[in-house]
C-alpha cells in the first residue's frame, strides 16, 4: 500500500499544481447547478407561470412517486430536480476525460514513465493510482456540487421538496451509482490512455464514454424510462462488475514493452 499511497500522492500533488486541469469538471459542476435552478425556479418565476399549471408536467411527474403533501408545483419541481440529479453523474465522467485520458499517455510523453516502470511497482499499483488520482478530486468537486444542490433546494424549492428528495433512491444514486459510474469511466479512460500515443486521441476516445450515460439521461427526461430504486441498485451492481472486468482487462492490456518502444 505504501507504493500505491505514494503514487496517489504524486497524482494529487501534480493536480494541485495544475488546477487548470480541473476546470472542465468545475464548469460541468456549475452547469449541473445552474441548469436545474434556472429551469425549475428562475424561468417560472420570470414568466409568472408556475410549473404546477402545466397539466402535462404534473402528469409526467407522477412517475416520481406519490407525494400528497406537496403542491402540484412542488411535485413537478421534485420530478425535475430528481432528473437533473443524474447530471451529477457527468461530473466524474468529465473528470475521466480531462484527467485519466491524459494520465498514462501524458507520462509517456513527458518521459516520466520509463524510470517509474524500472522500479518494483506492479502494473495494478500504477493503474489504480491513476484511477484514484483522477477519481478523488473529481468526486470531491461532485460532492461539493451536491451539497450546494441540496442547499439550493432548501432555499429555493417549494417547502417539502428537499425532504422528499432525501430518499433511498437519491442515496443510491449519489453514494453508489455515481462513484461506480465514475470508476468505470475512469478505468475505461485509463485503458484508452495506455493504448494510444497521443493525449488528443485519448480524449477523443474518452468522449465515447459519455454516450451511454447521455442516452440514459435523455430517456429519463423524455419519460421513456424511470429508473426506480431497485433498477438503480441493479445498474450500480452491474457497473461494479464492469469496473472489475475493466480493471483486470486494463492490467492485462498494459504492455510495458509496447508502451516504451512505441515512444516517438
Amino acid at each position: 500500500m505504501t507504493r500505491l499511497r505514494a503514487l496517489v500522492a504524486k497524482e494529487l500533488l501534480d493536480l494541485r499544481r495544475n488546477r487548470g486541469a480541473l476546470l472542465p469538471v468545475a464548469i460541468v459542476t456549475l452547469m449541473s447547478l445552474a441548469l436545474p435552478f434556472t429551469v425549475t425556479i428562475a424561468i417560472p418565476a420570470m414568466t409568472g407561470s408556475p410549473l404546477g399549471d402545466d397539466s402535462d408536467l404534473v402528469r409526467v411527474s407522477a412517475v416520481a412517486g406519490v407525494h400528497d403533501r406537496l403542491t402540484p408545483t412542488g411535485r413537478v419541481q421534485l420530478f425535475l430536480f430528481q432528473q437533473f440529479l443524474m447530471m451529477f453523474l457527468l461530473i466524474p465522467i468529465t473528470g475521466a476525460m480531462a484527467l485519466a485520458a491524459h494520465s498514462v499517455v501524458g507520462e509517456k510523453q513527458a518521459r516520466t514513465l520509463e524510470p517509474l516502470l524500472a522500479t518494483p511497482i506492479a502494473t495494478w499499483e500504477l493503474l489504480i493510482s491513476k484511477v484514484l488520482g483522477a477519481l478523488l478530486p473529481t468526486l470531491a468537486i461532485a460532492v461539493a456540487g451536491l451539497v450546494l444542490y441540496f442547499a439550493g433546494l432548501v432555499v429555493f424549492a417549494e417547502p417539502g421538496v428537499a425532504a422528499a428528495m432525501a430518499t433511498g433512491r437519491t442515496a443510491i444514486l449519489i453514494a453508489f451509482v455515481g462513484p461506480v459510474a465514475a470508476l468505470v469511466s475512469l478505468q475505461a479512460a485509463i485503458v484508452i490512455s495506455s493504448r494510444v500515443n497521443d493525449p488528443r486521441t485519448a480524449q477523443q476516445f474518452g468522449v465515447l464514454i459519455i454516450i451511454p450515460l447521455s442516452a440514459l439521461l435523455v430517456a429519463q427526461f423524455t419519460g421513456a424510462i424511470w429508473l426506480s430504486t431497485p433498477a438503480l441498485a441493479f445498474i450500480g451492481l452491474g457497473l461494479v462488475g464492469v469496473w472489475i472486468l475493466l480493471t483486470v482487462f486494463s492490467v492485462a492490456l498494459f504492455d510495458r514493452e509496447t508502451i516504451l518502444t512505441r515512444w516517438k
Binding site: L7, K10, E114, L116, T119
Partner: protein, 303 residues
C-alpha cells in the same frame, strides 16, 4: 553481478540487438559504446527488465530476470534513463520522496537529505523540476537512480549535460559505488569519459563487437608509433629506422617510426638507434586513441 547471455531483440523484421553476451562483475564499471541506433538503449532496457529479449537471458546475482522475478530484481537496480524523466510540476525533493516511498526506504528523509547534499542540490530542493537547468535535472535524475543504494547500476548517458566539476564528482561517486561492490554499466558516446571511468569497454553495433580493457582494445588496432627525439639531425639515422618501418619519417631532430606492437618493438628500435650512435634525448610510444579503435572496429563491423 549482471549477466547477459545471447541477448537478441527484434522489433518485427528488424533485429536491433543480436546475440549479445557479456557480464558486469561486482565492483566493475563497463562502458557501453556504440553509434546511434546500435542497440544500447534496447540492451539497457532488457537488462532492467523493461522489455523482454526475443531470445537469450539476463541474470542478476544469479537469478534469472523473468516477469515473475522482475519486480523484486528491479528493486536492486538503479536505472538512469536517457532523459531525466522528472515530474516537472513536483519539486526535486518531492520527486525523490515519491521514489523513496516506491522503494520503501527507511529513514527516507535522512536518505533524501544526504542525496541532495551529495549532488549539491540542497539549495534547489524546493525548486520545481521544470525550473531546473539541464545539468541540474540530470543530477536530480542521478540522485533518484542512486537513492535506494542499488547493487546494479544501469546508467544511460549519465554525464550528459553536466559541467566538468559535477562530472568529476559523479565519476568519484561511481568509483565509490564500484568500491562498495556495485556492478555498473554506463552507456555513453563520450570515449574519453568511457576510458576514464570504465574498467572495460564494450563496443556494440547490433552485435557485441568487442569487450575488453581500453588498453587491450588499443592494441587490437596495431597502429601505434614511436617518436624518437635526437640531439642532432634525425635524417642521418633514417636508414636505421626504415629497417623497422619503410615509411619511417624524419623532421628536424625527430624520427617517427610506425610499429605494430609498441611494447615489443620500441626497445628493439631504441637499441638499434643507440648501436648506430644516435644521441637519443627522448623516446615516446604513442598508442592509438580509443576513438581510432572505436571507429576502426565499428567501421569493420558487419551490418
Amino acid at each position: 553481478m549482471i549477466a547477459a547471455r545471447a541477448l537478441t531483440r527484434s522489433f518485427g523484421p528488424r533485429t536491433v540487438v543480436r546475440d549479445v553476451t557479456f557480464e558486469v562483475a561486482r565492483s566493475e564499471i563497463v562502458a557501453l559504446l556504440g553509434p546511434n541506433g546500435a542497440g544500447k538503449t534496447t540492451t539497457m532496457r532488457m537488462l532492467a527488465g523493461l522489455i523482454a529479449p526475443t531470445s537469450g537471458s539476463v541474470t542478476i546475482d544469479g537469478v534469472a530476470l523473468t516477469p515473475a522475478s522482475g519486480g523484486t530484481l528491479r528493486g536492486r537496480i538503479g536505472f538512469l534513463t536517457e532523459t531525466p524523466g522528472l515530474w516537472d510540476r513536483l519539486t526535486v525533493r518531492e520527486n525523490l520522496q515519491i521514489y523513496a516511498s516506491i522503494y520503501r526506504l527507511e529513514g527516507a528523509r535522512r536518505v533524501i537529505d544526504a542525496s541532495l547534499d551529495l549532488f549539491e542540490l540542497t539549495d534547489h530542493a524546493s525548486a520545481r523540476a521544470a525550473e531546473l537547468s539541464k545539468g541540474m535535472r540530470q543530477k536530480a535524475a542521478l540522485a533518484r537512480a542512486l537513492l535506494h543504494r542499488p547493487t546494479i547500476l544501469l546508467l544511460d548517458e549519465p554525464m550528459s549535460g553536466l559541467d566538468p566539476e559535477i562530472t568529476r564528482s559523479v565519476r568519484r561517486l561511481l568509483d565509490e559505488r564500484r568500491s562498495a561492490g556495485c556492478s555498473i554499466l554506463v552507456s555513453t558516446h563520450n570515449l574519453d569519459e568511457a576510458e576514464r571511468m570504465a574498467d572495460r569497454v564494450a563496443l556494440l553495433h547490433e552485435r557485441l563487437i568487442a569487450i575488453d580493457r581500453p588498453a587491450a582494445l588499443r592494441q587490437r588496432l596495431h597502429t601505434g608509433h614511436v617518436t624518437v627525439r635526437l640531439a642532432t639531425a634525425a635524417s642521418a639515422y633514417l636508414h636505421v629506422a626504415r629497417q623497422f618501418d619503410p615509411g619511417a619519417e624524419s623532421e628536424g631532430g625527430t624520427l617517427v617510426v610506425h610499429v605494430r606492437d609498441g611494447e615489443r618493438d620500441t626497445p628493439v628500435i631504441v637499441s638499434a638507434l643507440a648501436a648506430a650512435g644516435a644521441p637519443i634525448v627522448e623516446v615516446r610510444h604513442e598508442t592509438p586513441a580509443l576513438e581510432d579503435v572505436y571507429l576502426h572496429l565499428i567501421g569493420d563491423a558487419p551490418q
